[in-house]
């Protein structure tokens, strides 16, 4: 059969689109739908495609060739993001049916597909995959959250986001159903056997016609009069409430409230029964919110409860990852919850250890100190204490060490492995007075051998987690002053930081190990963390987080905020890839946790990762320039 011209051109379109997310995994009919209807246009360099003043966008744009720059105004700050082939925009505005939030400008001569807003709406309806892509991933890709969300706000956002989970993902079991001619008795028997209080009534092709619930039965005016030998069709609730699997948990909650029901039937794209959603399923979804986990931690009285809380933290983090929340908020979440957990463990330990009268603080080092914990973190902690005048035999230190051993063990029980390098508060070397800490730091600064530099990279990112915060503040102030006055030390740190280069290839995109992977921690996140630490010491910035260090020191160094924003975005993108690679089943600090096979990324993510490494390179050239290396 001869292929028609529209078919040939549509195939040319789909051959291109299928290399990019979400078209690489979208249903075949949905892909054909897009390829048939998307018209190709040309936009000369510098031309504005969309801006907030143009009203509701009338098209979905998909870049075929060229690049588009997105100018975002967030909190009075202007930032850029460059979109390349395969990128779709403005998904957020189309979904919200509101004017574009950003300005989109062709950065070079570009060929761009456009699909009408109506067709976009149709696509959302026919393609659950596309729907999922829109609701989940776009916020992450385009949002690149520049806002420093306050914890309270982020908490609310997280709880709301949970409710944006598609109901299809909440279904727990294969759907239970009976045909309309089943006797009511048999239907009730099946419900009892499965332990469910609602069963769907379907034709053989799984098209739902009704449902039966205990509630319904009991609410009948004359239950006794009903003959259980009658077919279930006689007593079921006809025309049951149904929702497509792609509908959101929100929609389900709303629908239940509106209809006054406790159960909804969920259907697939063909209208077939996919499962039964209960009100209880929705409650469970909300239960695992930040506030609940936090309350659980604060009221825990034993280690078993805290172990459960630790598990919930990981579950919450994973569901947030799945919902595409930005890496910055996510790592702060994890850190905030882990802080609460550690504080609770300390509080419980203090009931067993009498430290009354001792002035001390529990310190967190490394990623925990920077508020950048991922799901894969072992313990890095220490103690700072003031030795009482009367204490001449180190008894206070011995008491603290016994207490620390308990805390370290309890943390291990909650899933934070003991530190292999023994960077733990129970190590007598790390339970020190302010004078001793200053002496320790001072010796690293004055004699920066490789070990000293390595130590500096862990211990200089300290923060007080429990106890007298001013002990930490004074140490920080002293450290900053000392490091600021010692250019030779900072230069050594810079040399050290430059020993690992971003894995960008000259010929290929990425330089990978023999097994095709690259290490997102060693050759990715570390590059940003190390450079930020040096900048912070150089400019006397007291923040211990990488992003804050970069932002605050850039301001002092006169680096434009837009440039810093791009660097911070790069860092967060790498962090989010690390988070995505970690999952519930791997142990903390499992060896595979930070490795990534770049060839498993879609083109858009590869593009962003490349850009992130370029930002790391930029940061390193800045170091080179500053220290003339």
């Amino acid at each position: 059969m001869l292929t028609t011209a529209p078919e040939l051109l549509a195939r040319a379109g789909s051959d291109f689109l299928k290399h990019f997310a979400p078209f690489d995994r979208i249903e075949a009919e949905a892909l054909a739908f897009v390829a048939q209807r998307a018209a190709l246009g040309f936009h000369a360099r510098g031309r504005t495609l969309l801006n907030p003043d143009m009203g509701q966008p009338r098209h979905l744009y998909i870049i075929r060739h060229g690049t588009v720059q997105v100018l975002q105004h967030v909190a009075g700050e202007l930032s850029h993001l460059t979109l390349g082939p395969g990128a779709c925009f403005p998904l957020d505005a189309l979904l919200a049916q509101s004017p574009a939030a950003h300005t989109y400008i062709a950065q070079e001569d570009s060929f761009i597909y456009q699909l009408s807003a109506d067709d976009f709406g149709q696509l959302l309806r026919i393609s659950p995959v596309f729907h999922l892509f829109c609701t989940r991933h776009i916020a992450k890709l385009l949002g690149q959250a520049r806002q420093q969300l306050q914890d309270a706000f982020a908490q609310r956002a997280a709880e709301q986001q949970t409710m944006t989970t598609p109901v299809g993902e909440l279904l727990k079991r294969t759907p239970a159903w009976v045909s309309p001619d089943t006797t009511t008795q048999a239907a009730l028997d099946q419900m009892a056997k499965l332990g469910i209080d609602c069963i769907a009534v379907c034709h053989a092709d799984l098209q739902p016609v009704g449902m039966l619930t205990y509630g319904e039965l009991l609410s009948r005016r004359e239950p006794a009069a009903f003959d259980l030998a009658q077919p279930v069709a006689q007593i079921m609730r006809p025309a049951p409430c149904t929702l497509p699997a792609s509908a959101l948990a929100y929609d389900a909650a709303l629908e239940m409230a509106r209809q006054g029901v406790r159960h909804l039937l969920v259907t697939d794209t063909a209208g077939r029964l996919a499962g039964v959603l209960s009100e209880h399923d929705l409650f469970e979804l909300q239960r695992i919110g930040l506030r609940q986990v936090r309350a659980g931690i604060e009221h825990a009285t034993d280690i078993e409860t805290l172990q459960q809380a630790a598990l919930e933290i990981r579950q919450l983090a994973l569901s947030l990852i799945a919902q595409g929340i930005g890496a910055e908020q996510l790592t702060r979440f994890i850190s905030a919850l882990n802080d609460a957990l550690t504080q609770r463990i300390i509080t419980l330990a203090l009931t067993r250890h009498d430290l009354a009268g001792l002035d001390f603080a529990w310190l967190a080092f490394g990623s925990e100190g920077r508020h950048e914990q991922t799901l894969s973190t072992d313990q890095d902690n220490g103690l700072i204490f003031v030795r009482p005048e009367s204490d001449d035999k180190d008894t206070s230190k011995l008491r603290l060490l016994a207490f620390a051993r308990d805390v370290n063990q309890d943390l291990a029980a909650c899933g934070f492995p003991l530190c292999k390098g023994n960077v733990m508060a129970s190590n007598p070397e790390l339970c020190l007075t302010p004078q001793q800490w200053r002496h320790r730091f001072g010796s690293w600064i004055s004699e920066p051998d490789p070990q000293a530099l390595l130590n500096a990279s862990i211990f200089f990112d300290f923060r007080v987690l429990y106890g007298n915060a001013s002990l930490g503040d004074h140490l920080r102030a002293w450290l900053n002053k000392t490091a600021k006055n010692n250019a030779a030390f900072r230069r050594m740190m810079a040399i050290n930081a430059l020993q690992v280069a971003p894995p960008l290839g000259r010929l290929r995109d990425f330089v990978v190990d023999d097994d095709g992977t690259l290490d997102l921690k060693k050759t990715g996140a570390r590059l940003f963390v190390d450079a930020a630490r040096i900048f912070a010491l150089h400019t006397g910035v007291e923040a211990s987080g990488t992003a804050q260090r970069l932002r605050q020191s850039a301001e002092k160094m006169g680096i434009p905020q837009t440039e810093v924003a791009a660097i911070v975005d790069g860092f967060h993108f790498i962090q989010s890839l690390r988070l995505r690679a970690q999952n519930l089943n791997t142990e903390h600090d499992a060896p595979g946790d930070n490795t990534l096979r770049p060839d498993t990324l879609n083109d858009l993510d590869r593009g962003i990762l490349k850009e992130a490494f370029r930002q790391a390179r930029k940061l390193q050239s800045r170091l080179r320039l500053d220290y003339q290396l």
Partner: protein, 214 residues
């Protein structure tokens, strides 16, 4: 002799007098002439291209015709045709004519494509459809490479713009590449002040005079 006389002429072949074909030709004839002064963003064009056994008008035979409408600077897959040219192509040719209407016709290398199509129409439909032809062979260098030693071949222009197609030397495959070149040209020509079909025609005429020895 106008074209209707030709249709009535006893020498015309059977196929041209078939009622359906005659009907379509009459309707085509009744179309209003195109407005050549509409700006590109509001105008329609048709990109038309042939695949032939070679490039010798005397010896080679057209095998297929592909055409794509450019509407407001956009290429919509649904507005395209691709037809083979067989032994008795009157039906096919009238279909192409109907598809093109009286829109300005965009080709790459009119020297072959325009001539071949006009010959076919004259031979099988006995008409010489009046239309504005625009030739990217001249227009692309006029807009993008004002110097005289620029590229001349379609493949070279495709490389410059990073354009690809599903099949080279295929009537529709190349038409699609030409259509992409044309929308790029529209975008840039508008900036140079050549924002209408008439202005493009003028630009092409100047370029020909400028570069072709008298």
């Amino acid at each position: 002799m106008n074209w209707l006389d030709r249709l009535r002429s006893p020498r015309s072949e059977a196929s041209t007098s078939a009622p359906a074909i005659r009907d379509t030709l009459l309707r085509w004839q009744a179309l209003p002439p195109p407005d050549l002064d509409r700006p590109h963003f509001d105008a329609r064009y048709v990109v038309i291209n042939t695949a032939a056994t070679g490039l010798d008008l005397e010896r080679d035979r057209v095998l297929a015709i592909g055409a794509i409408i450019i509407d407001a600077g956009m290429i919509d897959p649904r507005q395209s045709i691709y037809v083979p040219v067989d032994e008795n192509p009157a039906d096919t040719l009238v279909e192409v004519l109907h598809f093109c209407g009286k829109l300005p016709r965009v080709v790459f290398n009119a020297g072959f494509n325009r001539m071949a199509l006009e010959r076919l129409w004259a031979q099988w439909l006995k008409i010489e459809p009046e239309a504005l032809w625009l030739d990217l062979f001249w227009l692309l260098p006029a807009v993008f490479r004002p110097e005289l030693d620029g590229p001349t071949r379609l493949a070279q222009w495709m490389t410059i713009f990073g354009i690809d197609t599903f099949q080279r030397h295929h009537a529709l495959g190349d038409a699609w590449a030409i259509a992409q070149l044309f929308i790029a040209l529209q975008g840039h020509a508008t900036r140079l002040g050549a924002a209408t079909a008439r202005a493009l025609a003028e630009l092409e005429r100047t370029r020909r005079q400028f570069t072709t020895p008298a």
